[in-house]
């Protein structure tokens, strides 16, 4: 026999877990997308697009690219292993 209260609690837990998974998997790509949009809106900030005559520091420090790289690094190094661990933790509690 299944009570509606238990069913609702289980459904809420599944819903919360799905939201967490979506949020974690979106963090990195959303950050990288923000950097990309910034680069499109202010292309003069990306000196790699017009490197002639630029000094070393202007070629190294390009904030929109920093944001894209941080988003990508976070996705690969942090978000993916966290998602795998989240799946594993959910499997053990089921």
């Amino acid at each position: 026999m299944e009570t509606p209260v238990v069913h609702d609690a289980s459904a809420t837990r599944v819903h919360d877990r799905a939201i967490r998974v979506y949020a974690v998997s979106l963090l990195g790509p959303a950050t990288a997308a923000a950097g990309l949009i910034w680069a499109i809106l202010q292309p003069y900030r990306v000196t790699l697009l017009h490197p002639r005559g630029q000094g070393l520091w202007w070629l190294v420090f390009e904030p929109p690219l920093f944001v894209v790289v941080i988003g990508a690094l976070f996705t690969v190094l942090v978000a993916r292993p966290v998602l795998a661990d989240l799946e594993q933790a959910d499997a053990t509690t089921r």
Partner: protein, 194 residues
């Protein structure tokens, strides 16, 4: 040969953004899942400690005034202290939760240093505006790590702490040495550049 001050702000902004993303992720999944892999527990405290270490060369090379040196030096000290204490807490070398008070201390010190070392008014230039904004953000955001002392498992407080760190990184990435803010740029600020 020295990079511009704004470039240093961007580099620190990028590193702080990574720390902020880690904190947001930890707040979302919870500490148990976050620490399922041991290295991840050390990740953001180690980065915070490293940021403190990197602030020492900033203090040594960006010597516009004595107050800049004091500000950068105090940030370096409190970041190393808070990052180091967090590392020791994760490792289990420190057990007293009172060590977590190093975070509100770091935030209040950073905020005060931002406010004290910016001697121009809010609308002097964008960097002045952002220094004031960063200072008050740090001081007000100290409430999150302080409240976490009493409610360490609160996801709302952890989320608030994380969002504040991300906000600080965005402000640092928006910094420019000489640029207008909401159309205001003092003629005393110098010639505007990109």
């Amino acid at each position: 040969m020295q990079p511009r001050a704004e470039m240093i702000h961007w580099a620190f902004g990028a590193m702080i953004l990574f720390v902020g993303l880690c904190l947001v992720c930890e707040a979302l999944v919870g500490q148990e899942v976050w620490r399922m892999r041991r290295w991840r527990g050390y990740l953001w405290p180690a980065l915070a400690f490293a940021l403190g270490v990197f602030l020492w060369p900033v203090m040594a090379f960006f010597t516009n005034s004595a107050i800049h040196m004091y500000a950068h030096g105090s940030w370096a000290e409190v970041l190393m202290l808070a990052g180091g204490a967090e590392l020791a807490l994760v490792r289990g070398r420190l057990t007293s939760p009172l060590w977590r008070l190093t975070w509100p201390l770091a935030f209040v010190t950073a905020g005060t240093a931002f406010l004290v070392h910016e001697q121009n008014p809010w609308f002097f230039a964008r960097s002045a505006f952002l220094h004031h904004l960063l200072g008050w953000t740090f001081i007000l955001a100290a409430i999150f790590p302080l409240a976490l002392m009493w409610r360490p498992r609160s996801s709302v407080l952890r989320g608030g702490f994380a969002v504040m760190v991300v906000a600080v990184s965005v402000m640092l990435l928006c910094d420019r040495d000489v640029a207008p803010v909401f159309g205001h740029l003092s003629p005393l600020a110098g010639a505007e550049h990109r």
